[in-house]
C-alpha cells in the first residue's frame, strides 16, 4: 500500500509527463506519410521504410551545403 506522499509524487510525475505532451515544443520541420515511404539520407547514411502512417518532427536546423 502506497502512502500519501507517494501518491502526491505519482500525481506530480503524471502532470510533468503530460505537460511534455503539449504541442509547445519548437520544431523546424515535419514529415507525414500515409502509405508507403522508402528513403535514404545520403548525407547521414541512414534510411527508413514506412508502411502505414508515420509522422516525424525535426527539432534541429537543417544543414544547407
Amino acid at each position: 500500500m502506497i502512502g500519501w506522499s507517494q501518491e502526491v509524487a505519482a500525481i506530480t510525475l503524471l502532470f510533468v509527463l503530460l505537460s511534455a505532451c503539449e504541442p509547445a515544443q519548437l520544431y523546424l520541420a515535419n514529415h507525414t506519410v500515409i502509405g508507403i515511404n522508402a528513403k535514404v539520407n545520403p548525407e547521414q547514411g541512414n534510411g527508413i521504410l514506412v508502411i502505414g502512417y508515420d509522422r516525424t518532427f525535426e527539432p534541429a536546423l537543417r544543414r544547407v551545403t
Binding site: 515535419n30 500515409i34 508507403i36 528513403k39 545520403p42 534510411g47
Partner: protein, 145 residues
Amino acid sequence: MIVSGCSVNGVGFSTSEVVRANGAVVILTTTFGGALRTRPDDAGLAIGYTKTLAVAPDSSAAPRPGDYLFGVSAADLPLVAVIRRVIGIDFGLNSEMVGATLGFSEDATFARVSPDTSMLRHLVLLPDDPAGIELRFCQKPAPCE
C-alpha cells in the same frame, strides 16, 4: 508541358495564387500530373496532385499578387518556409533524401540555415490564412523590423 500534363517548378499544368502578406509573399501552387522540382535542396518528381505553400521575403523579385493559371515558379526565391502535400507518387532525388513515397505525404520545412550563419527572425505561419502570415528578420539586439 500543359498538354503532357506536366509542370516544372510549378509552371505548366498547374495553378498558382500569390498573396502579399506582412513582410512576405506567399505562393500557393497546385499541380496535377507530373511535377518536376529542380531546386538542389528539393529536387524530385511528383506524379499526382500536389499543393505547396511557399513563403518568401517580400522583394522586387517576388511575383506580383494574383492568380496564375499556369502557375508561377518559386525556384529562384529564397524561401523561408515550405509546406507541400502530395497525393500520388513522390520521388525525391536531392542531398537530403533519395527515395519514394506512395500515398499521401506532407513535408513542412520552417527554417533552412547554413552552418556558418545565425539568424533571428519572427515568423507567424498561418497556412489557412496566407494573408495573415508575418515575417520579420531581426538583428540582435535591435527589435525585429
